[in-house]
């Protein structure tokens, strides 16, 4: 597919001038997808450092990790797991809907995913404040729980970093999924932002799939 002129893209919101790309739309889609998967790879490696630290600290402090893990709110963690799984489901559905040109359903499904994100964060806030109340939180350490500091340090770092990514994912789904869908941007010919936003959100879910058993169950 050689092209010797700029590629003019008329698939733009009504009233806007056409975009001029240096790639045709198939190449651009492939490039965007590869780019997003590469970015997800970097996120996995970011968390890899935490998983490695977790593994080593657990190796050195197995008893502490077991005991400390029991102080976490297991049912909050399990509930959050279900919430994220469901939100991943609605994100995947949103991609199919975008491919079928059903923009309203994209808004609805990404909207549910974002709502699930809020629920997740609310439960996390409840968990953290519960900890703070018992003095098991940075800056308000109760000396009684000082012995759990290794586990809790890793716990807050990993869940905190994860929560940050939840927020980023929610913003991405809104900006690149919900808002354009409200302008009927998506169809079988163009749904790249929906797919990429959903990929990012799935990563957020993937990380939690590993975090939950390691922190809450195995300890």
């Amino acid at each position: 597919m050689s092209s010797n002129a700029a590629i003019v893209d008329h698939n733009v919101p009504p009233g806007e001038p056409p975009h001029i790309h240096h790639m045709d739309s198939k190449t651009a889609y492939g490039a965007a997808k590869l780019g997003m998967w590469l970015f997800l790879a970097t996120e996995v490696l970011l968390f890899a450092v935490m998983f490695c630290s977790f593994a080593l600290m657990r190796y050195y402090h197995l008893e502490e990790f077991h005991d400390a893990s029991h102080h976490l709110y297991l049912w909050a963690g399990a509930f959050n797991t279900a919430v994220l799984l469901f939100s991943s489901y609605t994100a995947a559905v949103a991609v199919t809907k975008a491919q079928l040109g059903d923009n309203k359903a994209v808004v609805k499904n990404f909207g549910i995913s974002i709502l699930c994100g809020f629920i997740f964060l609310a439960v996390k806030t409840f968990e953290y404040s519960g900890k703070a109340h018992h003095g098991m939180f940075p800056f308000v350490w109760n000396e009684n729980f000082y012995e759990y500091k290794n586990f809790l340090g890793i716990y807050y770092c990993m869940t905190g970093l994860h929560a940050l990514h939840v927020i980023i994912g929610m913003v991405v789904m809104y900006l690149y999924g919900v808002r354009p869908a409200m302008n009927n941007r998506f169809s079988g010919k163009y749904y790249t932002p929906v797919e990429l936003s959903a990929l990012y959100w799935h990563l957020v879910d993937l990380i939690w799939i590993y975090l939950f058993p390691l922190l809450y169950l195995v300890g």
Binding site: S3, N4, A5, I7, V8, D9, H10, N11, D24, S25, K26, Y29, K33, L34, W37, L38, A41, T42, V44, L45, A48, V49, F51, C52, A55, L56, Y59, Y60, L74, A78, T81, A82, L85, F86, S88, Y89, A91, A92, V93, V95, T96, Q99, L100, G188, K189, Y190, Y191, T192, E195, A198, L199, H202, L206, I209, Y210, F212, P213, L214, L217, V218
Partner: protein, 109 residues
């Protein structure tokens, strides 16, 4: 000269029903992992938890993230971070658990 935008971006549209089935499977696996945690297998606890988590992760990657339909190149980049994670943890664990070895030498009197 313009190019028409007639070609679709990618063919595979996954039906919602497929996603629903996978969601149910994922929720079942979650119940399984909580249940399995009630049984104490000693040092195999973590192995079991990781196996179930990896099954869930595979479902998410293969189906939700359309991994099933992706080409080999993309699969290399999907797997690469996990390989590197294994190398990192593996490398660290050739070190710390074996450090006692430094102590095993005899001082000649």
């Amino acid at each position: 000269m313009e190019h028409s935008q007639s070609h679709d971006e990618e063919g595979h549209v996954v039906p919602v029903s497929t996603f629903t089935k996978i969601l149910i499977a994922l929720l079942c696996l979650t119940v399984l992992t909580v249940a399995a945690a009630q049984v104490d297998l000693g040092k195999w606890n973590i192995v079991g938890a990781l196996i179930i988590a990896s099954m869930k992760a595979s479902l998410v990657i293969l189906v939700f993230m359309h991994g099933k339909y992706e080409n080999k190149i993309l699969w290399i980049y999907i797997l690469l971070p996990f390989v590197l994670l294994a190398i990192l943890i593996g490398g660290v664990f050739t070190d710390d658990p074996f450090r006692d070895q430094l102590i095993h030498f005899e001082v000649e009197k």
